[in-house]
Symmetry: C2
């Protein structure tokens, strides 16, 4: 694990742009329409040509749950990580079959099962729409800018994709307002699970080994894309080269890094360091403690938290790494230095000041508003329900009913006609409701909301009334009908029933939704809206000073990074070589979780040659969302599968350290060896290497 | 809650001294032998004379569990907080009688019950021993300084108190090496519980209201000191004035503030802000989540965590407040400014540099060692077992057996003859072992130790072997005999049995105690030892530059603070008046925890006059350890009982803000009214106000 990207998980006040210009070595998550071929050629004597780039782009898959993947067979087989299919494996499971823990194996294609809510996209075209989008906000107040921009973007997306469910249109904000580009994807909403090993194989070493290396994780899975009930045909899939990578080899990672914040202003970084990240770490630590304790209470309790807990622990390591980077004086000084270069340019040139004003001061002036607004916004809106499916769906139903009666332009963006179908699909997806987990999440969310907003906040008072958090949570889990798809369907189709419903989840939403909307509006009009206006000026200034040869922050859109297979010299561990081998697994296995072998691996020591490459590291610059990305050699063949970064990479949101940051991947040697030797999945293995 | 002081809970690398000289208003926790009478007289037209000071000192009680109290009757009745007797009430409870939740009430003195392990002290004399202590470390290396100083201190203490169990001798380090003073106390080890209201009365509003105001908590309890089975007679007790305080009135707080860190150097403050406090907050947040979850699992589970959880939540708020203060730019700039004044003096005067060197640079140079050493030291030594009584006692037995064979001077200080009796008493105190809580704490501690030290740390590997944290914890709770006092007695008396014991708690200690000792030694020789040497020079420099009219950091020794009864203007809440009244309780009670009324209060609205003062705030400068302190008027009579600070005071460890920081107390009006009207404890009320 766990370079998966938690959608919607990031603070909204972020500027964006490149870390450094002329970065040496292997920094950058580059767009496919602006890949620095000349630089790579100069460094490594090879650069991908347009044909290489096109072929890799069309073999690269975005999994809408926050991951990447690659098409590895003509019949639409997609290679990705185990932790990218854990939601699917969990959703397909029941009390009698636990596909997440025990693995999901197929004998024939007819055994492949649809992932509830699963969606995949492949990027077909990129078009610059910067001028149109910027024009839409030219004459509006900063409080209205978010809404005006969103409306224009929806219009552009709708123009091209309309109601076509086989395509996805998305206008992407690159360089935080430096560019707006329309991405058009082929869209697949029949995504089936073909193979997943046991969780213990995919996540051997558990949280202790997560983000660490040396490592022995078979964090792989196979999906297949279907349309009209048939596997989709791809004429030119990316193919696996079972020979695996070599030390020092030039390699590329094609995938969808979720979000970086490498050019926040110093004021924004200080807010992250001193307020946002400490809050997130505290929040996640508490829910982690609750989940770990819940898991000791019984097998069913353990099963119910087993999908959510690793995500919590993973985020926690990331946020701790981010905070750790920002409190490192040399790191922070480098960020200050980068900003100073732009500030100096501004100070030296009246024309620049006239054109761009002082975006640094403008953004800094928003921080006090942000300090006030971020907790109500986070607790009532962004983190509403802390993961509870019942509460999330209750809110969708409640808001859809309220928004449906308004003119399209007045609605919350996710309820406008352009996005309503996606919202409906999300609501109707068959997500299992796990009562132990729901209770824990609802009670936790209520407690934390009261803690951060205070017991005297009107929304808190209204929600609690004369009950405790545990009573409210128990009532909802016992009595809500939201888990029933027919109930959701009925209320979606007939909003009047929402208004009169006494379902306890809907009743809870009713008590606080006005406050949540108000918190959102406050945040957007006093923080994120004005910040986006200043950030557009900052982006333009940055282009002016640094030129165009810089890469944008990650936006969960397709990027290509380059690097070499290479270990590192660690301050704590000393020299870390780039590869692990099969033999190391047997040494590391203690027999006790998280260092126990998955069932299929017990007694298989003789089956996998001891020298088979297991995991490896490379210098590619990646981040959460790159999970499942293929590692490609110069020939464009897959020699590895990205699933993690090393511990130093957890600060990667704010900058890249070529000495220490490493991508961690499964070697193609082990992918093929395990499919054949451990799992007897010879048909899939044959299809993969064909 | 909760100005109780968690002993042993603070980082060891701390310099100490006064916040500012000539601090205006009401700053300072002053020693009784250097109270700034002239300043107080100037500010308020009144100052206590020596007689006043002596009488208040002799009526002030230190409760060794980390609290304060006052003698309020000739028959040895001691007024303190409910949360200061919660350990006692919990220890006296059983599955059939829960004195913590339900209250502890007596009809006659014969109903009063001994608090297991309870100890109280009253300060009789203060003697300066600075010269002797400093001489002992004059010629030793900085790695040996801690041991040499501890030996000299033990010698001095032993000279005066010997084996006399009716006295307690303690050499206190004031101004972090600026002064060493011998404090001699009368010691009482038969402390009995006479009255405790229900937890819900003492802690009305629970964690949400903790550190907040307005407030409605009857956080009071009564203990009685006994000797030879009889109540101890006090000829001149402090007496309660049931009239209560008036707005604007000058008031004094006499008590035992536990620890402040107001003159850490900037380098030390940065370490606290960026490393120590974030780590503590994350640690406590996780255990809080676990405990809150455990409490939902059943009544017995809830009971078992009910004493520990508030302490965790209380510490968490304190640490968050401390971190919040340090990331406030104006606050931190003030600390930098204070240091700059001393640095400037040093830079301007070669004689000072010759005398004191550069203690700032010396202390700053230790921070990188501290970053490396603090987690092993904290996890293996300071926080060993995370509260588990079984593990703590197993370690005492194991170490006593190992140390017993060594010459006195070579032993760990707590096993030298001077302190062995206290260690034995701690071991043999009848603390209840709560299996659900033990399991939670042991598993938590194992997980966190593995997390912070890594799965490859030798001690971690040795402890875990082929088991999970939950298996290890379950084994210990199921099979350890440590909970049996006879077993502990046997092993204490016959150390050979420790060596051969296969008790699982002792076996665990055996696997990691060498590593724990090594971590402690590393910390002491590379961090706290050298820091104490530099701090002595810093203290001398500070006296030189600022003079003697400054107060020392808190050290859980008797201090007097002055202030006035006064509300404040809150950035979030606006004007907060100084008093709450009985009427407000009935308005705030929702019926649901933590805003439900305690059983005794239900239906009592008519009994307590609506205008009875409930809680109040004053500008006194206090900190954890001051819990249970009397609030005294000019006449030296008790008009309130300190139990908390407001939320702004949580940053008080590093500095005092007279505009915002407030002490929160129970009014003597309510103490008497509740005893009579709600609890019918008329005999005790009569004794109190006599």
């Amino acid at each position: 694990m766990r370079m998966r990207f938690a959608l919607g998980g990031l603070a909204a006040l972020c500027a964006t742009a490149a870390m450094t210009v002329g970065a040496v070595a292997d920094e950058g998550m580059w767009t496919f329409d602006a890949f620095p071929s000349a630089r790579v050629k100069e460094l490594y004597g090879f650069a991908p040509d347009q044909k290489w780039l096109d072929r890799v782009r069309l073999g690269s898959v975005r999994l809408e749950g926050g991951c990447s993947g690659s098409v590895v067979s003509k019949d639409g087989l997609v290679l990705t990580n185990h932790h990218c299919v854990s939601d699917c494996a969990s959703a397909l499971s029941s009390a009698s079959s636990d596909y997440l823990q025990d693995g999901f194996f197929t004998k024939a294609r007819s055994d492949e099962r649809i992932c509830p809510g699963g969606e995949a996209s492949i990027l077909k075209s990129i078009t610059d729409v910067t001028t149109r989008v910027k024009a839409a906000t030219a004459d509006v107040t900063s409080a209205e800018v978010n809404a005006a921009r969103a409306a224009k973007i929806a219009e552009i997306e709708r123009e091209v994709c309309g109601d076509d469910r086989t395509r996805r249109c998305q206008v992407v904000n690159l360089y935080r307002g430096g560019q707006y580009k329309l991405h058009v994807y082929d869209r697949y909403d029949d995504v089936r699970l073909a193979f997943a090993p046991e969780m213990q194989a995919g996540f051997f070493g558990g949280d202790p080994d997560n983000f660490n290396f040396p490592r022995y994780a078979l964090d792989m899975a196979l999906l297949r894309l279907y349309r009209n009930g048939q596997p989709v045909t791809f004429m030119d899939p990316l193919q696996i080269d079972a020979a695996g990578p070599k030390a020092g080899e030039l390699v590329f990672v094609s995938g969808h890094p979720g979000s970086t914040e490498r050019l926040l202003t110093v004021a924004q970084l200080e807010f992250q360091r001193d307020h946002f990240l400490p809050w997130r770490i505290e929040y996640l630590s508490q829910v982690r403690g609750a989940m770990l304790n819940e898991a000791t209470k019984g097998e069913e309790e353990a099963r119910q938290v087993s999908d959510a807990l690793p995500g919590v622990e993973n985020s926690l390591k990331v946020f701790k790494g981010q905070r750790g980077a920002l409190v490192e004086p040399s790191f922070f000084a480098a960020k200050v230095g980068e900003e100073q270069r732009l500030r100096d340019a501004l100070a030296a040139d009246a024309a620049l000041r006239a054109a761009y004003g002082d975006p640094f001061a403008d953004i800094a002036s928003l921080v006090s508003a942000q300090k006030k607004a971020f907790l109500p916004y986070q607790m009532l809106e962004v983190r509403f329900g802390a993961g509870s499916v019942l509460l999330a769906d209750a809110r969708i139903l409640t808001r859809a009913a309220a928004e449906g009666g308004k003119p399209d332009a007045d609605r919350l963006p996710e309820y406008r006609s352009a996005r309503l179908a996606a919202t409906e699909r999300g609501l109707m997806a068959e997500a299992p409701v796990l009562p132990f987990l729901e209770k824990l999440e609802i009670a936790f969310w209520l407690e934390k909301t009261r803690e951060y907003l205070g017991p005297d906040h009107p929304a808190v008072k209204a929600m609690f009334g004369a009950r405790t958090s545990n009573q409210i949570a128990a009532d909802i889990v016992a009595a809500s009908q939201i888990a029933d798809p027919a109930f959701r369907r009925r209320l979606w189709d007939d909003p009047a029933q929402v208004t009169t419903s006494n379902d306890p989840a809907i009743a809870l939403v009713r008590t606080m939704d006005e406050a949540a909307r108000a918190a959102r509006k406050t945040y957007e009009t006093t923080v994120s809206g004005p910040a986006s206006v200043a950030a557009e000026r900052l982006a333009a200034l940055r282009f002016h000073v640094l030129g165009q040869g810089i890469y944008p922050d990650a936006t969960f859109t397709l990027r290509l990074s380059y690097g070499v297979v290479k270990g590192w010299t660690d301050p704590a561990l000393g020299d870390v070589p780039p590869f692990t081998y099969a033999s190391g697994l047997w040494t590391r296995a203690t027999g006790a979780y998280p260092f126990n072998l998955a069932a299929s691996w017990v007694g298989k020591e003789a089956v996998i040659p001891a020298g088979t490459q297991f995991n490896f590291v490379s210098t590619n610059d990646i981040i959460g969302g790159n999970s499942g990305s293929p590692v490609l050699n110069k020939a464009g063949r897959i020699i590895g599968l990205v699933f993690d970064g090393n511990i130093h990479s957890t600060g990667g949101s704010f900058g890249f350290d070529p000495e220490l940051n490493r991508t961690v991947s499964v070697s193609s040697q082990m992918i093929v060896a395990a499919l054949r030797g451990v799992y007897g999945a010879n048909a899939l293995a044959d299809e993969l290497v064909k």
